[in-house]
Symmetry: C2
Subunit: 486 residues, 2 copies
């Protein structure tokens, strides 16, 4: 039977400009039908519980409030509540009002349920790359920044948002990125976005032609470009980063690089190549897209400054708090050449549709008050200790496994003997380790020979579990290759 939640008699009254105004109700009850008002109210409440609309434990409005909303006497509602408590539909507890009784189990929804997704294998230790330690999120400091930011925010902050992002954040980022990353820009060239993929999606709609990428890189980024109709062309990667000398032959006018820390294989882009890629961009009118995904985490010396500083007119610099604070905040930024600002905003749309204002304002205050620097400083020490622990354990227990790419960031590459990646991944999964192989990172069109390895994130496990994660990892690694002639 179909059924309307509105009283049809009342609905039929039409525009009702002269009807007495209620104070409005958030508990939707149909009081139509026969019997006394109390009986009709009880029937409506029972129906709401029975159908599952009012779940067990739900708090009902105070009887005074409901009475005012329905325009009926308080006693009527109080009596109906009391009787339903008697009947076991509702429960009344001192100090917490009247609630739907816990044993009034609602019906299962009548339609087919969504099919249960296959349960993932139980992960004991998450060693996937790219996530910081979620347990280290600075809740108290963040909340303090939120309090100050909300108190200081102008009223228009809660109106429709500027798609550039809040000016407070763009100003603070301009200063912070200059100081910490050598970025040269101005607030009107910064556009806030929800993270790197969002930035790449926006750029893909603005740039034309194929995009050169590093042979080793995040498959997801190649997918974002492909979905936007952009072909990707792989550049060879070696110990000095991407071989940008190959760019001229690709015909691409845009190149996506990870200059601070080649992802996932290694180190920073060599100074000569930094110069060369900027020269290339100047010569052909191209653009360097700089993915500065973990530029803040460098352990053995000063961080390598951004390529952007070499030529702000030829570089799109992209960063986020996904590694430095949390991927759950969904807050990132693009630093654009002047000529691309309007095009990117055009792609983003006339209103802010993505980035929430509270996180933007809170991040601005968190950076400006020094909380961000303090958090980064602390996490750098935590991650460096983990990296040292990882390197020491592997040197002792698996000396045939070479560890690379550990001068910075939250991940390492473990180079494995040829043909052992698949088996190592299986062993790791059996041991409850979530872990990724190196092979999926290789661009399918790359001329580079595939190498076996593991891309191991050491940022994610909480502090107390890290040693146990290393134990499990060492057990899952393949043994040394058999000596020749055995």
């Amino acid at each position: 039977m179909r059924r309307s939640w509105v009283n049809p008699a009342e609905e039929a009254r039409g525009g009702g400009g002269g009807a007495p105004a209620g104070t409005g109700s958030d508990l939707h009850l149909d009081l139509s039908g026969g019997g006394s008002l109390r009986a009709r109210l009880m029937r409506a409440l029972r129906e709401a519980v029975h159908s599952g609309r009012l779940a067990p434990g739900t708090r009902l409005p105070p009887y005074r409030t409901l009475a005012a909303d329905l325009g009926i006497a308080r006693n009527t509602v109080a009596d109906a509540y009391a009787e339903l408590v008697e009947e076991g539909w509702l429960a009344a507890r001192q100090g917490s009002g009247t609630r739907v009784a816990e044993r009034a189990v609602p019906l299962e929804p009548d339609g087919p349920r969504a099919p249960a997704r296959p349960a993932p294998r139980r992960t004991v230790h998450d060693l996937l790359p790219s996530s910081p330690d979620a347990s280290a999120f600075p809740r108290t400091a963040w909340l303090g920044a939120a309090r100050r930011a909300l108190a200081a925010a102008p009223q228009d902050a809660f109106g429709v948002g500027d798609p550039r992002g809040r000016i407070e954040l763009r100003r603070t980022l301009t200063e912070y990125l200059a100081r910490a990353r050598g970025v040269r820009t101005a607030p009107d060239r910064v556009v806030v976005c929800s993270g790197f993929a969002h930035a790449l999606e926006l750029l893909a709609g603005v740039l034309t032609g194929p995009v050169a990428v590093e042979s080793y890189g995040l498959p997801f980024h190649r997918e974002v470009l492909a979905r936007a109709g952009r072909e990707t062309v792989p550049l060879t990667v070696d110990g000095r980063g991407a071989r940008v000398g190959e760019l001229a032959a690709t015909g691409a006018r845009a190149v996506l690089l990870t200059p601070a820390h080649q992802f996932p294989t290694g180190g920073p882009l060599h100074p000569e190549r930094r110069a060369a890629v900027v020269d290339w961009a100047r010569a052909c009118g191209g653009v360097v897209i700089e993915d500065d995904y973990d530029g803040e985490f460098r352990y053995d010396r000063q961080p390598v400054g951004a390529v952007q500083g070499l030529d702000p007119e030829r570089t799109v610099y992209i960063g986020s708090v996904s590694k430095s604070l949390s991927p759950a905040l969904r807050t990132g930024w693009m630093v654009l050449p002047g000529r691309l600002v309007d095009e990117v905003l055009e792609a983003k749309g006339p209103r802010e549709m993505w980035s929430g204002v509270t996180d933007q304002l809170t991040l601005a205050e968190f950076i400006a008050s020094g909380g961000y620097d303090r958090h980064l400083r602390r996490m750098r020490q935590v991650y460096r200790r983990r990296r040292d622990l990882l390197a020491a354990r592997l040197a002792a227990e698996a000396p045939h496994v070479r560890v690379s790419g550990v001068a910075a960031g939250l991940h390492a590459v473990l180079e494995l003997p040829p043909g052992t990646e698949e088996g190592a991944l299986r062993a790791a999964r059996r041991a409850g380790l979530a872990l990724e192989g190196l092979r999926p990172y290789l661009h399918p069109d790359s001329a580079m020979a595939p190498r076996d390895g593991l891309v191991l994130g050491y940022g994610t496990p909480p502090e107390h579990a890290f040693a146990a994660a290393l134990d499990a990892l060492c057990l899952a690694l393949p043994g040394p290759p058999e000596p020749d002639g055995f």
Copy 2:
């Protein structure tokens, strides 16, 4: 001249596994070149200020910290700071550390700046539809909810997010929407999104064929569908909402409706049409997309329940906090038929890329603690008072202008004499009123004759400015049509 922010000598050292580890620095300084360490540090700091990388007012790290980071003596840094203060580059203030001097004005960036956008005409009163009063955002209550939510959140909340959204929010919404809007669902059918347009974008990728829409509707929603390659077919709209009887002839298998309050022209979808549209969807395997954009704001009687409650397997229900709290929070939700959940999640991607965790958790707590109900109750009274004021003023000063669609929501339609919309908009703009005409809302393919009118949002102005906004509006309205034969 090109220039690197890293010390090339240091960079060339390579992997540097054995280098002494610094505690990391967020102030990027190049200490290469000749002279004493102090001279080199001073040169690097001057250069950073001169180039604008260190903006006036920027606080420098304490000298102890910078010394530790650079691995040099504290005295060296302290002396360098002191000399630069002497030189006027830096300023030292008791209690607030050392900062870049305000008069050390940085150079303009050397590249061309983004072209200045044309300055919008100064808006004195914003009467655009669709935004609540930004000054009424409940900052204190929201912050309290954020504090409780962050304290209670499990640690994995700050890891990579589930694209369904936080379970705390999906559970709370399931209960709230049942209670307040007659929605019948379960948490595993709720998907969090960044607002209505995001939901529509996701659906457009899942549904096939043309989408029927109301003849009067938001042009932006038609654009979202068009960008996703979906043709839109208009249904006639009358006093009972969209004429859903026309659906059968359209060939569409999806229809986008605003059943609680036809946007922008009028009232709720009539009970017979609610039944009919569900019958249509059942008969042809179609889907009703229910845009419940302001369902909480109904003034003269109980809110009209959602169509979704009639058939959860045939309806996609979409809501957000954009009208109820703030469009700047970018938080909305879809309630899906079971069979569409996996497809929508597939379209959304394997990780949460859009909705930030703090706002999701805060909203869940805000609703569960009763703060949301209290806010809605208060705002309903505010907006009803404004509506009454608007109706009274127009009845007194412009009796020839019919006001419609005011039983609910944050906007009204002012029906104008034929041919006067254009002139009224011009007059309004001259008076500093931001205002929209009715004509852009009409679907270009609609068979309906265009009507002249204004779509007037009365939610946006702050309380103290509302009376003045009405004064300005009344002055901008066209006079009564001239009597015949004059």
